[in-house]
């Protein structure tokens, strides 16, 4: 009896020792910052001192038109980028998944390479391509008789351009996920469809899309979260401009924290974003933890 309890205790001990290092960094750099962020959002923070101000920082946010601009822009980004990504990736994956392996890996590779080389590098290239004075795109516009255009300097075109650049850079991951999911769909489903004389369009609509629904949910969630924290492309292409037309929540947070030294306000933005992320990720986490 005592021996048995000893074995139990020892197993517990070993388990805790194995997870201890991960646990420590996890608590220090992930859990603690969450609570610290919530606390800071209720303080006014100057260089040296902190003063408790309750919900004043949140009131400041709700009275700042730039915050609402950032919120609306972020929602617009999320909606358009997610729809474009899911739609286009479904189109690509459903058309190529059953083709020969080399072609599939060519498609996968050419859409994934921009993801690999990072948003920083891609933003730099796009900034060059879109440069009003000497960019290739501006040259084409002039060549086609559209006159001098400045797509990033125009409040009407800046959002569509950034949506497109972000979409084009990131869609590769969704394509990889969809192709993998579609390759996993049982073959007999397609064979049955063929016997019944189903068209490819029917196969895609009735078999493929329903079969990859869990992947669609996953892609939607990770993309919402990725777009929520969109930053590089804004900093390198527009700096939030013109006239705050392209400012996002993440960019707003960064400016408040590291330019205007409004750490309390920045923390409040962080808390709002944290709540949004948490709500979004609940369904995905459920499925990740359930079907093991």
């Amino acid at each position: 009896m005592k021996l048995r309890r000893n074995i139990y205790a020892k197993e517990n001990m070993t388990g805790y020792l194995f997870i201890l290092p991960q646990m420590l960094v996890f608590l220090m750099f992930l859990v603690y910052p969450i609570f610290e962020g919530i606390r800071l959002s209720m303080y006014r923070i100057n260089y040296q001192n902190e003063k408790f101000v309750g919900f004043e920082n949140y009131m400041i946010l709700f009275n700042d038109p730039v915050f609402f601009k950032a919120l609306i822009n972020t929602v617009v980004f999320v909606v358009f980028i997610v729809i474009l990504t899911v739609g286009f990736a479904l189109f690509v994956a459903s058309a190529v998944f059953d083709k020969n392996a080399r072609y599939v890996s060519f498609i996968r590779g050419s859409y994934y390479i921009p993801v690999m080389v990072s948003m920083v590098v891609m933003s730099m290239v796009w900034s060059f391509l879109l440069n009003p004075a000497n960019g290739l795109i501006s040259y084409f516009a002039r060549d086609m008789g559209l006159g001098a255009i400045n797509l990033l300097g125009n409040p009407k075109t800046v959002m569509p351009v950034i949506i497109f650049v972000t979409f084009a850079t990131n869609v590769g991951q969704a394509i990889i996920l969809y192709i993998a999911a579609m390759i996993g769909v049982p073959k007999d489903l397609f064979e049955a469809a063929e016997v019944d004389g189903a068209s490819r369009w029917q196969v895609i609509r009735k078999i493929l899309i329903p079969s990859v629904k869990p992947t669609t949910v996953y892609i939607t969630i990770i993309n919402i979260i990725a777009v929520l924290k969109i930053f590089v492309v804004i900093q390198l292409l527009t700096g939030g401009g013109p006239n705050n037309a392209s400012v996002t929540l993440m960019y707003y947070l960064y400016n408040n924290a590291f330019k205007y030294n409004q750490l309390g306000v920045a923390s409040a933005v962080g808390v709002i974003m944290f709540v949004i992320t948490l709500l979004l990720s609940v369904p995905q986490l459920k499925s990740m933890l359930q079907d093991k």
């Binding site: 197993e11 517990n12 070993t14 388990g15 805790y16 194995f18 997870i19 991960q22 646990m23 996890f26 220090m28 750099f29 992930l30 603690y32 910052p33 969450i34 610290e36 962020g37 690509v92 058309a95 498609i107 590779g109 050419s110 859409y111 994934y112 390479i113 921009p114 690999m116 080389v117 990072s118 948003m119 920083v120 590098v121 730099m124 290239v125 796009w126 060059f128 391509l129 440069n131 000497n134 290739l136 040259y139 990889i176 996920l177 993998a180 068209s199 490819r200 369009w201 869990p214 992947t215 996953y218 929520l228 590089v232 993440m250 960064y254 590291f258 962080g270 992320t277 986490l285 933890l289």
Partner: protein, 280 residues
């Protein structure tokens, strides 16, 4: 009869889609083509209109310039060191935790695991203010420690590797235990070698992710010599130097290691990215 008609329509739809997709794929690669070729042009050719689709005369002077006028060598070292050290730490502590969650029966194991995995979706960027203050308190701003530790904290490694440990037979561990091997020995000598493919996938995914990390490294590495290649390269955009070829050379230097890694390890990406998202 209608079946044949259907078949034909199906083929036509398929052919058209694939042509479009291939064209788009090539179009998608065009910015990268433009990046690399621009970086090889001289400062006047790069902004010439109409453009040269292929550099008239190749020059490597932009690359020489980057490494001479900017501490690009140091930035490269910083990136390699930070990405490498982060990844090694993630693998060491992540594999230990993953092994415990998969094979050792300890109290509250499932609850702790759920808490770990719940953090997967939370981007550290939104906690950047408290995170920065913590790092500041440790005196790790402008130090490698500050650039590395917050990146180690995420639980993705644990999640990915647990999936691999779960596929290994429990009998192996029991046999090793009966033979008198300690838990640690069982873990390092028997279990770790079996999950090598998982460690490979984790290494590459994590290395690339830290290499491409921007916002955190921008905030924590403020001194010029403590910037990573991504952050350093991005500062070229604010540089007064009007030579675009020079900026493109910087971006190319930041991109090339990733392109090489992708070409060498393509299959790891598919297996790593799809872990947790796609059930096969």
């Amino acid at each position: 009869m209608s079946q044949i008609k259907n078949q034909k329509k199906m083929e036509k739809f398929d052919i058209v889609s694939n042509v479009i997709i291939t064209l788009f794929a090539l179009l998608n690669l065009f910015p990268l083509y433009w990046l690399v070729t621009s970086s090889l042009k001289n400062s006047s050719d790069v902004v010439k209109m109409p453009p040269d689709w292929w550099p008239k005369s190749f020059t490597f002077s932009n690359y020489v310039d980057i490494f001479q006028s900017q501490p690009a060598l140091r930035w490269t070292f910083n990136s390699i060191f930070v990405s490498g050290a982060t990844t090694v730490l993630v693998i060491v502590i992540g594999s230990m935790a993953a092994y415990a969650f998969s094979k050792i029966n300890f109290k509250f194991r499932n609850i702790i695991y759920v808490i770990f995995v719940s953090s997967l979706m939370i981007p550290k960027e939104i906690m950047i203010v408290p995170l920065f203050r913590i790092v500041q308190n440790f005196d790790m701003v402008n130090a490698y420690g500050g650039m590395i530790w917050p990146n180690v904290a995420g639980a993705f490694g644990v999640f990915l590797l647990k999936g691999f440990f779960d596929t290994t037979p429990n009998a192996l561990r029991e046999a090793a235990r009966i033979d008198g091997a300690s838990e640690w020995r069982t873990f390092t000598r028997i279990m770790l070698p079996i999950v090598k493919p998982g460690i490979g996938a984790l290494f590459i995914l994590n290395f690339v992710q830290v290499w491409n990390d921007y916002l955190w490294q921008l905030v924590v590495g403020q001194e010029k010599l403590m910037k990573t290649l991504m952050v350093g390269t991005a500062t070229l955009m604010q540089d007064l130097n009007p030579n675009f070829a020079y900026k493109m050379a910087g971006a190319t230097v930041a991109a090339i290691p990733m392109l090489i890694i992708f070409i060498l390890f393509q299959r790891y990406f598919t297996s790593g990215i799809t872990a947790g998202a796609v059930k096969e």
